[in-house]
């Protein structure tokens, strides 16, 4: 694993005088799995927006593997290897799980290239590996429309993985999932990390505990506490603003 990972330092974002992020600093090492928690309005989504280039900070540094994220277009950042999964899964219902993953696979994207596209052995095994990874190997030839809510989320994560990102941002992946699906998702994300960095934004503390990773607590746009889940849950400031309520 090369590169320096994700590096945010003193990032401030202001919307109409409201400080959505206030000198936020965050360091995510290559291959690290990190959970980010915090009450509503703490700046979790704004942080993701800064990393993916959707929002520009007024001050501070945001770098990924040495590239200045504050100066790049969204598509350029995506091509750097930063993938983001939004809350609402959008998979192509009419296509099978395999075909969904195939569309996401890195390959020339033009109409003629798509007409001439032949599935190589390497591409097939990459798709099958990802289907396996997200727990959908047995559903590979089923239409995505027949998947459960949880499975659709996994397929969406799988489509993200097909683009071979170095950093995966996952926004509230277990909202609306059953307990079993939640546990499976935790296992899936732990499995993805290592090859790449994963940042998970989540409300569900049991899920965050299952991730077994370092936790960052955000509050009013800045980092309040950081450490293991036991450490942050014992932090009196965290208890006061978030956990105690």
């Amino acid at each position: 694993m090369t590169g320096e990972g994700l590096y945010l330092d003193g990032v401030t974002v202001v919307f109409d005088g409201f400080r959505a992020l206030n000198t936020l600093s965050l360091l995510v090492a290559p291959g690290e799995l990190r959970a980010v928690i915090g009450p509503n309005g703490a700046g979790k989504t704004t942080m993701m927006d800064v990393i993916t280039g959707k929002t520009r900070p007024v001050s501070g540094i945001a770098r990924f593997d040495g590239h200045d994220l504050t100066r790049m277009e969204e598509s350029v950042i995506a091509n750097l290897g930063i993938g983001r999964k939004f809350q609402k899964p959008t998979v192509f219902d009419a296509l099978t799980v395999f075909e969904n993953l195939e569309l996401a696979l890195k390959a020339p994207r033009g109409p003629v290239a798509c007409l001439r596209w032949r599935l190589s052995g390497a591409a097939r095994s990459a798709i099958e590996r990802t289907a396996e990874q997200v727990g959908l190997a047995e559903r590979a030839s089923d239409p995505a429309g027949r998947l459960s809510h949880g499975q659709r989320q996994w397929l969406e994560i799988g489509m993200l993985l097909m683009q071979d990102p170095k950093l995966v941002l996952v926004d509230e992946p277990v909202a609306g999932m059953t307990d079993h699906e939640t546990a499976e998702t935790a296992r899936l994300l732990v499995g993805i990390a290592g090859e790449r960095s994963v940042v998970v934004v989540e409300h569900d503390l049991d899920f965050v505990r299952a991730l077994g990773c370092r936790v960052t607590v955000l509050h009013e746009g800045t980092m309040l506490s950081e450490g293991s889940i036991d450490h942050v849950q014992a932090d009196p400031r965290v208890v006061e603003v978030y956990l105690g309520r």
Binding site: S75, D93, L103, A104, R109, C114, M159
Partner: protein, 345 residues
């Protein structure tokens, strides 16, 4: 069983003109009328196939595909007019009758080249293709989709109809083109010519079907289906959806143009009525009735709805537009997946 269904249908259709050659009064002889009607339906089936590619696969609901069909028809019609030569009523060696009547001194520049069959055939494909490229590029680039796109395509065919009605457009105005004499050295209005044109239409239908089937089975076909269901998500995956939509829309328009080019020698007339918005809507009803996004459904829909139309108009022609309207509303409500969807269930 299903593997033999399509070749079986093609074999049956191929048999029709042969049965027409049997002597009059033979029990299984097929009449001239049936052959010419079936030939028309073959052309309609190609138009339906073209529409299914754009609508059924890419979600581009064109309510103006009749315009591409008519332009293809006009291109071949211009060739047929040029072939009449001095045999027209006015006997002018170069100018078609309507031009003499309107006082033209020489052939307008946009008629040049139409004396040659390959050129006319090329134009029957290129002109619809270019129009689709221009309209599609402007609409897709502005991200116009859904009902707004349908309205634009409908307006396109209506505007063309009004333009072609005008005498000074140089396309025969109201009357269009008719009284064709021959095509590629073959006198028209003979049983032989009818069979040749019929087989040409059948071959084109089979060719367009195989091409469409092969295309929709590639990754391109899957990208189209993905665009139909969630275009912004496809863009988010890094696909330039404008290029994919434009590609299929232009190809579809060219296929519709080919259908029109085959249609006009068969029916022996083309006039601005072919641009009528109702024609385009009828084509949409064929595809919806047969089952969109299936290709087979488009062909079955074209045949079955036209069979209904032919039967109905033989005794109650005024009813047809009402039935068409009812179908337009009832089919999506009652059989959203069409005939094919019902048969597969």
């Amino acid at each position: 069983m299903r593997r033999f269904l399509l070749p079986g249908i093609v074999a049956l259709l191929a048999l029709l003109p042969l049965l027409n050659l049997l002597p009059e009064g033979h029990p299984i002889r097929v009449s001239d009328f049936v052959v010419s009607v079936a030939g028309k339906w073959l052309c309609y089936a190609i138009l339906a196939l073209a529409l299914d590619l754009a609508w059924g696969y890419a979600g581009i609901l064109s309510l103006g595909h009749g315009a591409f069909f008519a332009l293809g028809g006009y291109a071949i019609g211009m060739h047929l007019m040029r072939l009449i030569g001095p045999r027209g009523t006015y006997g002018h060696p170069v100018l078609p009758d309507f031009m003499v009547f309107l006082g033209y001194q020489e052939l307008p520049w946009f008629w040049w080249g139409f004396g040659h069959f390959p050129f006319a055939l090329l134009m029957a494909l290129l002109v619809p293709g270019l129009l689709a490229f221009a309209v599609g590029y402007l609409a897709f680039r502005s991200r116009i989709t859904g009902v707004y796109l349908s309205i634009i395509t409908q307006a396109m065919t209506y505007a063309l109809m009004l333009a072609f009605f005008r005498n000074d457009m140089g396309f025969g105005g109201n009357n269009g083109f008719t009284d064709f004499k021959e095509l590629v050295g073959m006198p028209l209005n003979t049983p032989f010519a009818r069979s040749v044109l019929y087989f040409a239409a059948l071959a084109a239908l089979v060719g367009c079907f195989l091409l469409s089937a092969a295309m929709t089975r590639t990754k391109f076909g899957r990208v189209l289906a993905a665009i139909r269901d969630a275009e912004s998500r496809v863009r988010f995956l890094g696909y330039d959806t404008l290029r994919h939509k434009l590609f299929v829309f232009v190809l579809s328009a060219m296929m519709a143009g080919l259908a029109g080019a085959l249609y006009v020698p068969l029916v022996g007339i083309i006039n601005p009525g072919e641009f009528s918005p109702a024609n385009s809507i009828e084509a949409v009803v064929w595809v919806a009735f047969g089952g969109r996004g299936t290709l087979v459904g488009a062909v079955l829909g074209a045949f079955s709805v036209n069979a209904l139309k032919t039967w109905l108009t033989s005794f109650a022609p005024d009813l047809w537009l009402i039935v068409l309207g009812v179908l337009f509303i009832a089919v999506p409500l009652l059989m959203p997946r069409g005939l094919v969807g019902m048969l597969r269930r």
